[in-house]
Amino acid sequence: MGLKQNLHSFKEKNKDKKWLPAFSAIHTFLFLPNETTHNGTHIKAADDLKRTMNTVIMAMVPCLIFGMFNAGYQHYLAFGEIQQATGGFLSAQFWTLDNFAVGFWKVIPLVIVSYVVGLAIEILFAIKNNHEVEEGYLVTGMLVPLIVPIDTPLWMLAVAVVFGVVIGKEVFGGTGMNILNPALTIRAFLFFAYPTWMSGDKVWVAGAVERDQMIAAGQNVDAISGETILGSLAQGKSVGYDVMDMFYGLIPGSVGETSTLLILLGALFLIFTKIGSWRIMLSSVVGALVMGLIFNGLVSADVISEGSKFYGLMSTEFWHHLLIGGFAFGTVFMATDPVTASQTNKGKWIYGFLIGFLSIMIRVFNPAYPEGVMLAILLMNVFAPTIDHYVVQGNVKKRMKRVKAKVA
């Protein structure tokens, strides 16, 4: 085969070149390398890091495509050009080419910026540190466009990606060494660096910000509100969506986070392929339900009056929390990041539970920005090594006890 031979001789010829990792990164996407085992096991299992990462991306693709349709749908809905879809998940009003076209042209640039900027930094660091390009960013790069609001300006995204990859990951030594989930670091950076842009009710619908600027310029048009459900609840407003809309994802929100149905499918796929940790996902859901029940209990015990600013979110039925906001997406795709999560099986239970528990707590008590899951995961990322430390100490103590039993 010509191509195979040509690439091989090219690689051999340029073996000692500094930029070889950049070539190898592309080469190994085409061909599984010809590397053989030396000492140690002479055979190896079929999985490598690329396959693992690719599996996660496959699980996210349905969310991405749905996100494109939803972006268009929310756009036309807010502009009053179409009626609310009534046919559930398969509504004809939702799956239209018009919707897709709007979404496609909004979402694809986000994907491209995320990958180009992120991978460029990865390759630079790989060349500088003289190692192969690690695959960690393949997943991060796909996560990023899915967890940002649709109207995020591309330059902001680019700045955030640079920050997230360099400060969130490379300073710790790159893939496998980072403490914080890089995708969430990027999102957190966006929200704390550009709060006026990122919070509020405008960025969630494509075109709403532009419309606002037109009004400010004195044009006579209606303002558009594309408030998320969490935003409405935090302000004590009623929600205009029924539960099935929330489950299917026909609601405003970050690009890929709205469809709980598709996220659930992704979760099942990740659990089945054994790539995602079912322990973290399950315990996180349990944690969220427990916190939701506690708040519901407080409301029914009349501890919180209807006038309280926390009333809206506290009185939300506990299991609705799983369907709204980024909880489902965060739990399935980001809490399970193996590098930043707890690494011991016991630790994963504790880590997941606390993520769910804290997500809902932050949601309720932080009405300025009622999205808890991002902060909860970042917080638990920081605590994961501590959790693991105590789990491993349990094993160490058992060993020390054995010695003591002998001496006694």
């Binding site: 390398p33 010809n34 096991t41 396959r51 054994k274 999560a341 011991t344």
Partner: protein
């Protein structure tokens, strides 16, 4: 206190090319080679210089740290070459064998002798080399007293020689060997046998038999130790390979060091996989070509099994401790989109478009391709699925990599040998060299703590 051991965590790697249960006499090798590297950390002091004539069982070299510990020639003949490496390190002592074999007579040993005498006899006759110790997985120190001795009579590794078959009829030798070993410890000689096997090891006197079942590494001696009586700080256990008991036993009974061993020739590159009667240190070439591998073939020859063995060249020699030669195809070729296409012909513990879970009984023809490049540790929980010891595998590997002696000790480094990490290395998504990391960790501890 015999105890049945049933493990769930592990992985049976089923490969094509299992040896058929028929034994042939290997072509008698003209050359034999004993390589000090097989005895990790032992520095040899040469006795038989080039040109010396030796009988089978006569000393070739001894341990520099303990002159009593001899390493002997497997055959009679002439020492024709002492290969040396950098800094005059001895790489191999090569013996050209006589046509007629003569044996040094060590004398029939009285099995009722006390521990001191038994120890001295084993050291002097070269049989000590078969006794290894943990911690550190090295030839046992002669001045150590083990809290127990462990022998695995169940081979669960891929394409391993079936010990029930290779040891059949050797009951007398096995009994003599374990009787002698039992003198050397208070904690007894623990022997594991397969649950449904009729192992000649099952009915020995002076032993404690454990029936084991479950996937590989159920037959690893490390698993047996961990489940029966794990090594604590300051303690030592000894291990002996079952097939080497035969050599020890025969020496005790007859006074002859008979290095004969039945080994399996296995692997998908072998035309007719079967068993051979040969001697340790024998040339590999005497076994692999007749109904075996193609002379021009692109194959990997391994002295040992595919998980823990050493790569050898066709003109290489049988490893001192191996009872299997495995030959599998080299995998030095590219595979278009090999990283993302569905995979049916390789083994995987995940289901990430890998389909070995569909048919757990299927036998695979694996080659030596790494199926991906070396990366940092990323995934978690995959090692635990195939690692039955009560130890955190990833944490201990990382402790070895950053050389934290206290942490290595606390996490259980005294209990492990590199082979215990063969399966975690096999499944490792990041293609990290686990066994090498553990070996280097053990060497560091041996140097710093001793």
């Amino acid at each position: 206190m015999s105890k049945d051991i049933k493990i769930k965590k592990g992985l049976d790697i089923k490969l094509v090319g299992e040896a058929e249960k028929a034994t042939e006499n290997a072509i008698i090798s003209n050359f034999y080679s004993i390589r000090p590297e097989d005895f990790h950390t032992i520095i040899p002091k040469l006795v038989a210089k080039e040109g010396t004539r030796v009988k089978a069982g006569e000393t070739l070299f001894y341990n520099k740290d303990n002159e009593a510990m001899k390493f002997v020639s497997p055959v009679s003949g002439e020492v024709t070459e002492v290969q040396r490496g950098p800094r005059r390190r001895i790489d191999a002592v090569k013996i050209t064998a006589d046509k007629e074999q003569t044996y040094l007579d060590h004398g029939k040993f009285d099995l009722n002798s006390d521990a001191e005498k038994t120890k001295a006899h084993l050291l002097a006759t070269g049989c000590w080399s078969f006794i290894k110790q943990r911690p550190y997985d090295v030839v046992a120190k002669a001045d150590s007293t083990p809290k127990a001795i462990f022998i695995s009579g169940y081979a669960s590794a891929p394409l391993a020689a079936d010990l029930d078959y290779t040891l059949a009829g050797k009951e007398a030798e096995l009994q003599a060997a374990v009787t002698a070993l039992a003198k050397l410890t208070e904690g007894g000689v623990h022997v594991s046998v397969g649950k449904n096997s009729n192992s000649p090891l099952a009915n020995l006197q002076n032993t404690i038999t454990h029936k084991v079942s479950g996937p590989h590494p159920s037959g690893n001696v490390g698993t047996l130790i961990n489940k029966v009586n794990p090594v604590n700080k300051g303690e030592t256990v000894w291990t002996v390979n079952a097939q080497d008991l035969v050599i020890i036993g025969e020496l005790l009974l007859t006074g002859k060091f008979n290095a004969e061993r039945i080994i399996a020739l296995a692997g998908s590159s072998v035309k007719k996989p079967r068993y051979f009667r040969t001697k340790l240190g024998s040339e590999i070439a005497t076994m692999i070509y007749d109904n075996g591998v193609e002379r021009e073939g692109n194959d990997r020859i391994i002295s040992g099994n595919v998980l823990t063995g050493k790569q050898v060249q066709p003109d290489g020699y049988l490893d001192y401790y191996s009872n299997v030669i495995t030959v599998i195809p080299e995998g030095d070729d590219y595979e278009l989109f090999g990283w993302n296409k569905p995979v049916f012909n390789k083994i995987s513990t995940s289901r990430a478009m890998t389909f070995s879970w569909l048919n757990p009984k299927k036998k695979y023809d694996l080659n030596t391709n790494t199926n991906g490049e070396h990366r940092a540790f990323v995934t978690t929980g995959t090692y635990e699925e195939v690692f039955p010891l009560d130890i955190y595998p990833m944490q201990i590997l990382k402790a070895c990599m950053y050389k934290d002696l206290d942490e290595m000790e606390a996490l259980g480094m005294y209990e492990v040998a590199p082979e215990d990490f063969a399966l975690t290395e096999f499944v490792c998504v990041s293609k990290q060299p686990h066994q090498k990391i553990i070996r280097e960790g053990l060497d560091l501890m041996l140097k710093e703590i001793g």
